[in-house]
């Protein structure tokens, strides 16, 4: 427990070494001086001669001279100078022993081989030899160079080398071969088929080193061969965290594409779901099932991908973070996407270029999902030192985020920006204000007034932009704005920017009826300056003239004709064209015909207001994070992200055939025989190793120890581990998990991140009965092996037999059923004349009717004669809905039988009274349910939980402070206690001081939400939100009691 000392760092250590090096330095300086002088002499000669000297040096017998020559040659290459004529002299050194010299020769070869193909062939044999070198490093670099020589003649040699390297023992060489595949493919696309075979083989590779490179090769050579991925999908997901960062980016983007072809959309149709929920809420469960809208259940593989990529949001590599963000954007259910927000905002602290790309992506995201970034609005505030493109992007995002609540803050911020010295940015801000004004009607007037004030700004671009924006705004709101138009007319003389002048003229024309006096005057001024105006202004002048002519021909007839005459002889054909058209339209003559009548309707037609929208509006057609998205142009090689399939393709394609190393051991054993017991032991072991399942795993291991204490074998894993130290246990668990998953690779650094087992393992069958009948096994080892074998059977069986949707259902419901089982007395054998009955709640959904609570009754005959016709008689209250068990014809002495029944308690703890009858007697018994048993667990995400909790406030909330026996209790212990009392599901929580549990009442399906907020020391705040307030208070009491024991 050493406290860290506060020290100022002094990292200039190793004084001695410095001294020594100083002395050396001096000696070296003298020597190198001599060398330099020598070279200087050489350098001073002409360049042709210099090449001769280099040749001479290369041919000398001294390694150091050769090396020096090569260094200078590489220097020439680096500077982009031509050194090709030295090829023959250089290539001779390819077999040099000196590794640095050799590498420099490689650099040279790769650069010039294409130009000197014949000579390059001379070096090939050297590489072929090196490919067989015992040193993996040399093998790899030989392959790298060989594959980089772009000489078509050696394609067969390359092909052979790649195939061999793909089977190399060294993962590094295999990685190199994956790179070589791409090189060969670009050199000779004809080889595609053969290369795909190699890719297929390398995709099976379990090394993290190879994974990224081979997926890259896949993307480049055969991105459409999705079928190659199926079998490797789960492996890639599980390896992902350990792959090097560049590989992660490539794999994630490939998996994004893959997932979009294989899974169905997690995005619910908003209307259909919302409606069904409210509409059917009061109805029974059965009806819900009958509706056409099947509830969406995510494919476990889909979930696996989302779960395994999430930790990578914490990567230091910005490209990895971005790729996870885009994966969530394109694949995750809508409510889960927001977990990427924080990480994206973090990237904004990075380099300028990173900011640029990230802001572009946020801009696209923020159009569709304002809520995601609104809390981080301030992170997008502009600093005067930002680059212009960064500023504009931030502005874009702020505009997208604007809503009624924050608009005043944003406008205040914009006011600062408008004054910016960066005029391009100021202009963009005015555009942004315009967009806010149209989108949020409350502030339209404020914005308009602000913009009018800007009209007197000294800067021309600002004024021009304001005019353009005002024009657009007035068009959307053509009410009482004649004042503004008048004001603009006054400013007209001072405005020189053509676009702004044109906009004012258009406004005059459009609303000339509102400013009847001013408009003709403006036209008069324009007539004077017409010839000197820009084309765009001329066109608007002609328009204005035409409109005024129609409305106020008395005042403007002459002016219009004058302008039309000027336009007729203009240099620009557009203007001549327009003039001719307008003249025919407005001035009636014999030729003009029918159109003339409609002139007013044509020119003064009400025009639809322009929509001011983001330039990022349509960017989402490109996958986020791509080059295409950044440029808003389809880049070459861009792979379209396809739409979700309507029906999910076959999921079983991703199942992996597991090669079992110990199959022979158990081949002889009868499959049926071991099936049942082994199932439990496997599950027990699995529960042990499954670190995630927390309390359940502990419970189940306890259970198994208890129940199989006589044998002590079926749960060998748990027993052994419990006696060992904790760390040992962890290791063991890890190991077992590895074995269970049939991973042959050695334990990797996987513990850096949580390793998540493939989803099918999470499936625990509901039809597992009590563990009692697990029979003893003599051989731990064997049990273990059998278990692995069995696991596969279970896997395959589950996958074959159960529908995909059911699998997930089970996951949702059954997990808590491993909690401790409390048994209650129903009938004592003394009062029951030998018949005793006990019951417990198995916490499974009742098979008979969903609104019933399942109860298991164990009937034992402890008398000395057999009992006959055991059945249920009268019940009280009569309305009580009980599903009785079938009459038991005969129960022998000392025998016992377990029967299940269902009771509908209607969400009350009122006891169910009934009569247990035999052929001779009747006994009144009652089942008193604990409130926690009237629930069934429900799985939900944290966000949903909080959302639902928000709906159940006030009267529906019960809260109390509870005290626990010990402080800082682990979350497992808490979950365990809560689950022992109530049949609820654990909601994963991102805050460690919050524990959340969710359930529904069995009968009415009302939500019950339990929140435990840990406070200082041992106290905690327990809150229950549910509309069943009576249940809440009872549950609160029970939980409080249970938690006091933690």
């Amino acid at each position: 427990n050493m406290q860290l000392s506060q020290t100022t760092l002094d990292r200039n250590d190793e004084m001695c070494q410095t001294l020594v090096s100083l002395i050396w330095c001096y000696v070296a300086f003298l020597t190198s001086l001599q060398i330099k002088i020598k070279f200087h002499v050489i350098n001073s000669k002409s360049s042709v001669l210099r090449n001769d000297d280099l040749k001479e040096m290369l041919e000398s017998s001294k390694e150091s001279l050769k090396l020096e020559a090569m260094k200078r040659i590489v220097g020439l290459i680096a500077k982009g100078k031509n050194a090709s004529e030295l090829f023959p002299a250089v290539v001779k050194n390819v077999a040099s022993k000196n590794i640095e010299l050799k590498k420099l020769v490689y650099v040279y070869l790769v650069r010039y081989a294409e130009e000197q193909q014949d000579l390059a062939l001379l070096s090939i044999s050297t590489f072929q030899r090196a490919l067989k070198d015992p040193n993996q490093f040399i093998r790899a670099s030989a392959l790298r160079v060989l594959s980089s020589i772009r000489v078509p003649i050696i394609v067969p040699i390359m092909m052979l080398a790649i195939k061999e390297a793909a089977a190399d023992l060294s993962p590094y060489v295999r990685k190199t071969s994956a790179h070589a595949i791409q090189k060969l493919y670009s050199l000779d696309p004809e080889q595609k088929e053969q290369l795909i075979e190699v890719i297929e083989k390398l995709l099976k590779d379990k090394s993290t080193l190879v994974a990224g490179s081979v997926v890259m090769a896949f993307e480049e050579v055969c991105p459409d061969r999705i079928d190659l991925i199926h079998k490797n999908y789960r492996k890639l997901c599980n390896l992902l965290v350990d792959v090097e960062e560049w590989g992660q980016v490539v794999i994630i983007s490939m998996l994004t594409r893959y997932a979009r072809t294989q899974f169905i959309s997690p995005w619910k149709e908003p209307d259909s779901l919302g409606l069904t929920k409210t509409f059917y809420e009061s109805d029974s469960e059965e009806k819900k099932d009958q509706t056409e809208n099947k509830p969406y259940i995510m494919d476990p593989d889909h979930r696996l991908l989302l779960r395994n990529t999430k930790p990578l949001l914490q990567s230091r590599n910005t490209a990895v973070v971005m790729s996870v963000a885009q994966l969530y954007w394109h694949l995750a259910p809508k409510h889960e996407v927001s977990i990427v927000t924080k990480s994206l905002v973090r990237l904004l602290r990075s380099h300028r270029e990173v900011q640029y790309i990230v802001l572009q992506n946020i801009a696209t995201m923020s159009i569709q999902r304002k809520g995601m970034f609104e809390p981080f609005m301030k992170s997008f505030y502009v600093r005067s030192t930002d680059a212009t493109h960064i500023k504009t992007l931030k502005l874009e995002i702020l505009t997208n985020l604007a809503n009624e609540a924050n608009i005043s803050t944003i406008l205040r911020e914009f006011q600062t920006y408008v004054k910016s010295q960066d005029k391009a940015f100021a202009a963009a801000t005015i555009q942004a204000i315009g967009r806010c004004a149209t989108n949020i009607s409350e502030v339209t007037d404020t914005c308009l007034n602000g913009l009018v004030l800007l009209l007197s700004n000294r800067d021309e671009t600002v004024v021009a932009e304001s005019v353009v924006v005002i024009k657009k705004l007035l068009q959307t709101q053509p009410t009482q704005h004649s004042e503004i138009i008048k004001h603009m007319a006054k400013l007209f003389d001072n405005i020189t920017v053509p676009m702004a002048r044109a906009s004012i003229l258009w406004l005059m024309g459009e609303y000339c009826e509102r400013v009847p006096k001013i408009a003709p005057d403006v036209l008069r001024k324009m007539a004077k300056t017409f010839t000197a105006e820009e084309d765009i202004v001329k066109l608007q002048t002609v328009n204005l003239a035409a409109k005024l002519y129609l409305i106020n021909s008395k005042q403007t007839k002459l002016l219009t004709q004058y302008i039309l005459n000027l336009g007729k002889y203009d240099q620009n054909y557009d203007i001549r064209d327009r003039t001719r058209f307008i003249r025919q339209l407005i001035v009636p003559n014999e030729k003009s015909g029918a159109l003339n009548k409609y002139a007013r309707r044509i020119l003064l037609a009400p025009k639809p207001a322009p929509v001011l929208e983001s330039s990022f509006k349509d960017r989402d057609r490109y996958q986020l994070g791509t080059l295409s998205h950044s440029l808003n142009i389809k880049a070459s090689g861009y792979q379209e992200l396809c739409d979700w399939p309507a029906v999910a393709p076959d999921q079983s394609v991703r199942n992996v055939e597991v090669i079992d190393p110990v199959r022979s051991h158990i081949a002889a054993l009868d499959e049926r025989n071991l099936c049942k017991q082994e199932f439990f032991s496997v599950l027990n072991m699995y529960m042990n190793v499954c670190s995630e399942s927390g309390s359940e795993s502990e419970d189940s291991s306890e259970d198994s120890e208890e129940t199989s204490s006589d044998s002590g074998k079926s749960s060998s894993g748990s027993e052994e581990s419990s006696s060992e130290s904790e760390s040992e246990q962890k290791k063991k668990k890890k190991k077992m998990k590895k074995m269970a998953l049939q991973k042959k690779s050695k334990p990797t650094a996987a513990d850096r991140y949580s390793e998540i087992p493939p989803p099918f393992l999470v499936v625990s069958c509901p039809h597992i009965g009590p563990l009692r009948d697990a029979s003893p096994r003599s051989d731990n080892q064997r049990v273990y092996f059998i278990s692995t074998q069995l696991l596969q059977k279970i896997k395959s069986r589950l996958i074959k037999s159960t529908l995909p949707s059911r699998v997930s259902c089970l996951v949702q419901v059954t997990t808590p059923s491993f909690g401790p089982v409390k048994t209650y007395e129903l009938l004592h054998h003394m009062t029951g004349k030998g018949l005793s009955a006990k019951y417990h709640f198995p916490r499974q959904p009742c098979l008979y009717q969903p609104s019933m609570v399942a109860v298991q009754v164990i009937l034992t005959n402890s008398s000395d004669h057999s009992l006959e016709e055991i059945h249920i008689g009268d019940r009280n209250p009569a309305s009580l809905n009980i599903h009785c068990f079938n009459t038991i014809e005969r129960l022998e002495p000392e025998a016992s039988v377990t029967v299940s029944m269902g009771v509908d308690f209607s969400d009350s703890t009122q006891a169910a009274n009934f009569q247990l009858c035999t052929n001779t007697d009747q006994f009144s018994v009652s089942i008193q349910p604990a409130v926690g048993e009237l629930l069934m667990p429900s799985t939900m995400a944290e966000q949903d939980f909080i959302k639902e909790q928000g709906k159940l406030q006030g009267m529906n909330e019960t809260s109390q402070t509870v005290t626990m026996a010990t402080a800082n209790t682990s979350s497992q212990a808490i979950s365990k206690q809560v689950l022992s009392v109530a049949n609820v599901g654990v909601v994963s929580s991102s805050q460690s001081n919050f524990h959340r549990f969710a359930g529904r009442t069995v009968s009415s399906g009302a939500l019950v939400l339990v929140t435990l907020e840990m406070k200082e020391s041992s106290s905690a705040q327990l809150t229950i939100n549910t509309e069943k307030s009576v249940m809440a208070s009872m549950l609160l009491r029970d939980l409080k009691q249970a938690l006091a024991q933690v």
Partner: protein, 418 residues
């Protein structure tokens, strides 16, 4: 992926080119030069450009452009991140990433580029791995090499490349085992005219310098890890431990590295260490303006503010500044229009003040906006967020290392609007 790389200096000369696939002519850079011309300020060049046959992705580091040529779709951040990694590696190897240094070490640079990419796909970017393959130049080594004809290039595959901990090589040995951690926090803030905080947040980074023998497994824990809102880690950190226990558990790389970066939520109130009283005005009549700035301590937690510096980007119209500073020196660069006032230590008894007049170009209208002040400062021995390292434990090795933690608070993007 990455087809070619060109290194371009400030004046637009290409001084290094490297091709990983077939050779692409230099003329492709012309599109970039065009964009650079248009942007005026090198900062404003868009990082991603399109040309008829290629895409150009560039970064600006120091005064150098790293320009990469791309032919097909690739995540732009992938390339940008990689280019920065290249620049980082140069910095790591040569202590600097400038044109001169790169030209001096051209061969090593070329060898590095050769190792870092294969066929345009990153191969070895981990500094520890690279250093085993290509040894960084030191004076001593270059002497030995010249005398013996030895080389800078390793001839075996670095162990790190193959192991599951690529960031650390095997067989590290030190006589003095030590582990130092620097907790550096930067305050990003915008203050408005009246001194109220518009926005403020804290970005922190833990830089480590670990020189430990063997394969140590370290655990670093904090007194108050809840403060941290968002984190990113060096790949060595075990994420799962952080998730469950909020401790940093890792096998460290050898030498200097960034262990983690973090963000302290903007929801928390951020302490602003200094206040600024300023008055900058440009007169409508007469070609002059006035400037008066005073800086004083605000929330410094009893520590001294050091390295105080104010930078102002003046409007183009300001010709010169005639000011007097009660403490420190000021300089005004006529070409870039940047006023720098280097104050040094902040003395709470005698607040530093800078005042005087600004002369303006005649006939040019008064600037619309006053320039904002960028403030730099440093507070030793303090992490402004209150983050504290509670302990460092080492497992896996027997010796007792020397451990140290240092806290520094700096101003990040700290801007005062005027």
């Amino acid at each position: 992926m990455i087809h070619s790389l060109f290194l371009i200096n400030q004046s637009g000369d290409i001084f290094l080119e490297k091709h990983w696939k077939s050779v692409i002519g230099r003329s492709v850079c012309d599109y970039f030069f065009e964009a650079k011309e248009k942007a005026v300020d090198p900062e404003n060049v868009a990082p991603v450009l399109q040309t008829p046959h290629h895409y150009l992705i560039s970064i600006l580091r120091g005064k150098l452009f790293f320009l990469s040529v791309i032919q097909t779709e690739v995540p732009p951040l992938f390339v940008i991140e990689f280019l920065h990694r290249v620049a980082d590696t140069f910095q790591d190897y040569f202590g600097d990433c400038s044109e001169g240094v790169i030209k001096d070490n051209l061969v090593t640079v070329y060898e590095l580029l050769e190792e870092m990419l294969d066929n345009g796909f990153p191969l070895a970017t981990e500094s520890n791995v690279l250093k085993e393959m290509i040894r960084p130049p030191t004076i001593l080594r270059s002497v030995v090499n010249t005398l013996t004809g030895g080389s800078n290039v390793g001839d075996t595959l670095p162990t790190g490349q193959l192991s599951n901990i690529p960031w650390r090589r095997a067989g590290v040995k030190y006589t003095n085992n030590e582990a130092y951690f620097d907790v550096i926090e930067e305050i990003d803030a915008i203050l408005d005219k009246s001194g109220t905080t518009v926005c403020a947040e804290i970005q922190g980074v833990i830089e480590a310098c670990v020189r430990l023998t063997g394969m140590p497994d370290l655990t670093l824990s904090f007194m108050n890890p809840r403060l941290l809102d968002d984190v990113s880690f060096h790949p060595c950190v075990r994420f799962k431990r952080w998730e469950s226990e909020r401790v940093l558990s890792f096998i460290p790389p050898d030498g200097n590295f960034t262990l983690m970066t973090y963000h302290v939520s903007s929801q928390n109130l951020v302490a602003i260490p200094v206040y600024v009283k300023q008055n900058i005005s440009f007169f409508e009549t007469g070609p002059c303006g006035r400037l008066d700035i005073t800086i004083g301590p605000k929330q410094t937690m009893g520590k001294t503010v050091e390295g105080l510096m104010v930078t102002i980007h003046m409007p183009k119209a300001v010709l010169s500044a005639n000011l007097t500073a009660t403490q420190g020196n000021y300089s005004y660069d006529l070409a870039t229009k940047v006023l720098v006032w280097d104050i040094g230590k902040l003395n709470p008894q005698k607040l530093p003040n800078l005042r005087g007049s600004l002369s303006m170009q005649a006939g040019v209208p008064r600037p619309e906006e006053n320039p904002s002040l960028n403030i730099e400062l440093k507070i030793q021995q303090l992490a402004i967020s209150g983050l504290k390292v509670s302990r460092l434990d080492m497992y896996g090795e027997k010796y007792k290392p020397f451990k140290g933690v240092k806290y520094v608070t700096k101003a990040g993007k700290f801007q005062v609007r005027t």
